[in-house]
Symmetry: C2
Subunit: 297 residues, 2 copies
């Protein structure tokens, strides 16, 4: 019998957390101040959504958890780097993340910037090293690196953050907000899914369908995140109402919470529909979509 999605998610989260600790560098002082800072943010927790998506996508096309795990961890390292840098005083200037003080509030700005830089760089090291030692074909490793670096760089996540900063306090359209989301969070979510699919040996058709699934899911996820920011962010470890106070335009602030929730649910349904050609091995992806799209926590 397949475990419930909640149980499966928490089991996977444990496996990912354990692997992340294993993969983080650990050498003697004084370098370890940097490592301590990297470790701090990696171990601060989080839902591990991106690595889980990577593993689920791999499973959906017949791949194993083990083979996808290092790639999944590398993606979480990139996600964590982006959070550390986004929280910096010159960016979003946040003091709280995942329920604990942000990296720079503990280690100072310089080490926070360097910890982010190191996590990003080490992620590519990890994909190169573990990808090969895990039996992936070099061609697949390169494809994964291309997917992830494109999603994270100046055509993806970083440009999303730049846009996000540029529109602070400005009136923007719904379409523009969607564009920022698709760059800032969507691109890496899509790359998490395609990387996992590549590890599992997906066909071109499967890759395309999974990509569409991830696009819808990513947007739904972000809208719900912004809804939670309004309704009460304490449970997600952020300062409540932070977006509104920063005069940051979000989906629910523009259309209202109720409508935003409805859109998120529609997107979730579209995401799941993209998986119609997949068999029961894609069930975790389907359940995850509904779980996230309707989440109330």
């Amino acid at each position: 019998m397949r475990p419930s999605i909640e149980l499966y998610l928490s089991t996977l989260k444990e496996i990912i957390d354990k692997k992340l600790v294993e993969l983080l560098p650990n050498s003697p002082e004084p370098i370890s101040k940097l490592q301590e800072s990297m470790r701090y943010s990696i171990l601060a927790g989080g839902k591990r959504l991106r690595p889980i998506l990577c593993i689920f996508a791999s499973e959906a096309v017949g791949g194993s958890v083990d083979k996808a795990l290092p790639i999944a961890c590398a993606i979480e390292m990139i996600h964590t780097y982006s959070l550390i840098h986004d929280d910096l005083p010159s960016m979003d200037d946040d003091l709280l993340r995942r329920g604990i003080p942000t990296n720079h509030s503990v280690f100072g700005e310089a080490l926070a910037i360097l910890a982010g830089d190191a996590l990003l760089t080490d992620a590519f090291s990890l994909i190169g090293n573990e990808g090969i030692s895990n039996g992936l074909a070099p061609k697949v490793v390169v494809e994964i690196i291309r997917d992830i670096s494109k999603a994270a760089g100046s055509q993806g996540m970083v440009s999303g953050q730049a846009l996000d900063l540029a529109i602070e306090g400005k009136e923007v359209s719904l379409e523009f907000i969607e564009r920022v989301h698709s760059l800032k969070t969507g691109a890496l979510i899509v790359a998490s899914v395609t990387s996992g699919a590549r590890v599992g040996g997906a066909s071109e058709d499967q890759l395309l369908q999974l990509k569409c699934y991830a696009k819808y899911l990513g947007l739904a996820f972000q809208i719900i995140d912004d809804v939670l920011d309004i309704e009460g962010g304490a449970e997600i470890g952020k300062t409540i109402g932070a977006d509104a106070r920063k005069n940051k335009a979000t989906y629910p602030l523009l259309v209202g919470v109720e409508r935003a929730r409805k859109v998120a649910l529609e997107l979730t349904e579209k995401a799941v529909l993209e998986l119609r050609d997949f068999d029961e091995r894609a069930e975790p992806l389907r359940e995850l979509a509904f779980y996230l799209g309707g989440r109330k926590y």
Copy 2:
């Protein structure tokens, strides 16, 4: 007849500069504020030492300039990202770099951090994309990514910068300074040479010898850089005496300028000696070593 090393260096610098412009992203506003910031620092110039080393190393084992060029440019992008982040107020707090205002003095801290992040990430994209389209075997592309990411990450350049910040104002030994250099600048210089060598199809023996060459050269280069900082930094585009004012321990500050120059020359000779098994195709590497080791500019 082979051109003089000066002429060859300036020709290559032009080729590299042109290729870098070509490779930088260029899309419509408002993303382009980020791109403008990336472009600003890439086009600020510099000696292009790392890409030139990459190309020379490739030539030394029979590779072509064209094939090494994209990898060489990716390394320069990583080097440039490290300069942008090192110059930030929370790090070295520098206002001048390569003779012009530092990135954050022009674009602000947030965009400077993001431009660095994007250059680093895009560099891996570039290696993945161009490496393959340039006819490199995926296996070689992965090896290059492993070399470069290891050299740049928490076991290399970033930890060197963290150490450098940690020892500011402290008394340290010559050995410790060498260790900081080998991490902060040496590692990427070594990776520039090994990457180029891999592009050119180097044997394991050749790789090892080129690695030793690069280690000696990297240290000599850094010592001479620190000598120039004392003797007059205007020509290298930095504020004169910046290290001493910041109470930063450097090789020449510890042993004196004359002794430091002598050590740099000895290292240069050791570097060149490592190339004894190479034929005349390694001549640019040899000449470059003497040119840098004894440079007075």
